[in-house]
Symmetry: D2
Subunit: 307 residues, 4 copies
Amino acid sequence: MNIEDIVGEVATAVEPHRGEGKVADYIPALACIDPMKFGIAVATPDGGCHAAGDAHEGFSVQSISKVFTLSLALENVGDALWQRVGREPSGTSFNSIVQLEKENGIPRNPLINAGAIVVTDHLIDGNDADAAIDWLLRVLRDHAEDASIDFDAEVARSESETGARNRSLAWFMKSFGNLENDVETVLSAYFRHCALRLSCAQLARAALFLAFDGKDPVTGERILTPQRCRRINAIMMSCGHYDNSGDFAFRIGLPGKSGVGGGILVVAPGEGTVAVWSPGLNEAGTSKVGALALEALVERTGWSVFG
Amino acid sequence: MNIEDIVGEVATAVEPHRGEGKVADYIPALACIDPMKFGIAVATPDGGCHAAGDAHEGFSVQSISKVFTLSLALENVGDALWQRVGREPSGTSFNSIVQLEKENGIPRNPLINAGAIVVTDHLIDGNDADAAIDWLLRVLRDHAEDASIDFDAEVARSESETGARNRSLAWFMKSFGNLENDVETVLSAYFRHCALRLSCAQLARAALFLAFDGKDPVTGERILTPQRCRRINAIMMSCGHYDNSGDFAFRIGLPGKSGVGGGILVVAPGEGTVAVWSPGLNEAGTSKVGALALEALVERTGWSVFG
Amino acid sequence: MNIEDIVGEVATAVEPHRGEGKVADYIPALACIDPMKFGIAVATPDGGCHAAGDAHEGFSVQSISKVFTLSLALENVGDALWQRVGREPSGTSFNSIVQLEKENGIPRNPLINAGAIVVTDHLIDGNDADAAIDWLLRVLRDHAEDASIDFDAEVARSESETGARNRSLAWFMKSFGNLENDVETVLSAYFRHCALRLSCAQLARAALFLAFDGKDPVTGERILTPQRCRRINAIMMSCGHYDNSGDFAFRIGLPGKSGVGGGILVVAPGEGTVAVWSPGLNEAGTSKVGALALEALVERTGWSVFG
Amino acid sequence: MNIEDIVGEVATAVEPHRGEGKVADYIPALACIDPMKFGIAVATPDGGCHAAGDAHEGFSVQSISKVFTLSLALENVGDALWQRVGREPSGTSFNSIVQLEKENGIPRNPLINAGAIVVTDHLIDGNDADAAIDWLLRVLRDHAEDASIDFDAEVARSESETGARNRSLAWFMKSFGNLENDVETVLSAYFRHCALRLSCAQLARAALFLAFDGKDPVTGERILTPQRCRRINAIMMSCGHYDNSGDFAFRIGLPGKSGVGGGILVVAPGEGTVAVWSPGLNEAGTSKVGALALEALVERTGWSVFG
């Protein structure tokens, strides 16, 4: 069966589940999203985009952006990054501070909030958050071949207003000397990159290089070394879904990253990338219907890396 | 380059590192192993065994046995197993009890000690530990096509004598009703399966079905369903090396399981299996030179599942 | 107002609350106690016993016995005891194992389960649990001037049968080398001393020396040095009610020890001792009506050590 | 022996220990204090002040101020305070955030940093930190009959500059809705009250009402109800020295509060108050020589509340 048909089948298969899960409600801009939304897009190396549902509607990618900032930070500072953030799953929820206290302000991995804040710090030179965000936008627009990609200023503002827990994490790491720039500077960039708005189609396209050893298969541009690409995929597999990462690997078997906006990005090495969106979350903060869709897709494509 | 040559190259590459790491010393039978030992064996679907060093010398596989007991327990009780053990990485060391207290006696995954004890409980019917061990031996001998495989009674006895921490874990779970058989019965089987003695060659051969969707590629025998096979591989990827699992995925990119005897088993889906042995451990209890060898092997074979 | 009248007033004051709280139900012998029971007895230095309600009916003193075993262990081994048990409040519930893992098997204080198990180990010479229990009984009968005091064999047996959690704690400490005798020997003594049966009158009388600098004011016998007596009282104040100790000090202001059988013993230095009994417990395992009665008593007598 | 002589004896007794312990060095203003400083002052109900050493030299009282802010907050909001802060010892160090995560942003007690920040929040009306500090100064000057008492602006500024950990604690509680005023407003007051500078003599005098049921025995002014006074003393006993409180009760047997400036205040109900100062701290942050002096004093006066 071809991938276009499979995407259609998957959309049909999850139809009865649409609306399941609990929509994130900590900021109004997320809380008011229609829970019935569902989109799926598969990007393939021939430049194809196989999509269904609301795949071309932008949504708040939230933590999925952490994959792109990790990629940029590695480009900016190289493996020195790993002195200030680990690469182990946390065994705790996305915003836990307990581990930081036990481990001297070094976050467990770059995909939990604390780790992503440290990664963001590595994108910023001379306390200039705007330049970092400009760089990120430029890169994303370039990868996705779509100049319209932007962040949602209203969401970024809301994130900042309700950002007490992230401020606490940032100050905690600051107290251990693990942030170089000012706390509010780092958070200003962090809240904006979490507020990036992309559609499933844009997201899958922007990440396509991760499925092809760091090289965009459409343009031929090398974005990362193969080793660095494999390592980002490994971290997505181990840590991409907070304290739900093991279950995600168990069920879906592909490196991925979820966001509380209801999006999930997964990478099928050598095959392509998939982005799904459905706002209702499971208890661990991963899109419930999105994960179901990916499970159905992997069952049909055989893309699991585990056999 | 063919696999035979690669194995030779890997052995040469790690030669200068032999003896590195710290040999486990909690029981005499492990403490007195020559730290210079090093073996590597790759099993391929054509029935080939590509080996170097001490690849045909038996060693104490310790926790690597947990992969086989997990496979048998799933055969014995099916997905009911997952009601009594999770599948998330623990974020803590191999014998931590902290998580058990927070999560009501349900171990985080089947590959930490507590989880493997629960798995062992699922192998035992009517408090008969001997029958469980007989079954395990029968299956291993069958998979490896080698009737000489056995456990080391002296090691098993030492494990039991120094097993206070595992007794504590077992009684803790018993107090939450998460062990059906008697604590000492379960531990008797647990200590014996940890004392299994296999060579790298035997180990790689016995696990070959895990690289081929649950079907032994040599005999054609189906051992597990493809889905169950993928899931075991996923758990090995997420949880196979205690609190070092993320780093192992980052560096090596293959599902694996390490044991404090210095062995590591890894599965390369669609390609084959690899077993290495070198007694010196890193701080997280994984063979130091063994991991270096696997890193070198994966670099040359391109077998990482991440691209 | 004299103490006899106050005791009567207190009994009247708590009358409307009788039956409140939740009776411990982990063993049948405790679960079947009539929740309406209430007793109070005050022992005074003139040998007087001022009692009301069911003050002469024996009940299972459970953890209150830990005060007496602590006193004996200090007599047996002196300050060497403090190398194997701390004297800080635990900040966790009575049977938590988390702290033990963080602090290398050294329990926080002698009045939580783990600490009391270590204390019991110090009562035992040459693995002889019976001799330790005989000694404890002899001392209690002597202090209380009542040869009928004994433990309840049925309760001790039930404690042992349901003792998985305590076995886990004991094996955990054993794994750190913090138990000298066999685990089952220590627990055999532990379960029996927790099963001691005394009435409020007997309990208050037996502890009277703690209110008078270690000397029994009735017989004139010196039981402890003044310093050791003060220190036991200090530990009761800091740690006597598990994770409820701060609140007990706040409300009642006297050193005390509660047991899940519903008894509470408190020491009023220079004044006397008080034992209350009411089976219903609050969430932290302290007798709910018992604490109310003590609050009423302290309000009337002004015995708080805090002014 | 009279108290004047005892104070002299105590000073002599600790003479050989002067300079022991480790001076707090997280801000320059503390780090540069002469470690040989030692002062002791006893305030008695007749208005007497019995002093030795550097008892009239001002020092940074740091956390000792938390006793006075607790007293004022209870006056300001009454028992409603206890809905937002507990009264149990924490079982962890003074600035731990672990407990806050487990217990939904409610600090364990008012004498650890997080708790004192919540208490400070209760002193502030309408985001006006200056008014709160003015009130505190007015009250302290009144209690101590000394209009010269003030905070050290330089210390307050340094506390704020190095206050990342306290900012983290405050934002963490803010994220749970447990701070009403702005984080920086509350911290501005918090850093200033920690920077209060008093001598031992001033400190003992200012706290004298705590030893006499809430009534100043010299002026006859009632400052607190007897019950509230007892309760503050109880909290000092249970929680006054972070994770060293149990040991302090064990050794000294009086309610007290220590500060990282090297001061300790203790209350001897019905007798008087004692303030000591020696900059070197033990591992738990309590003045090492100060605690020795108090132990010597209590041994000689028999003021322990425990007999």
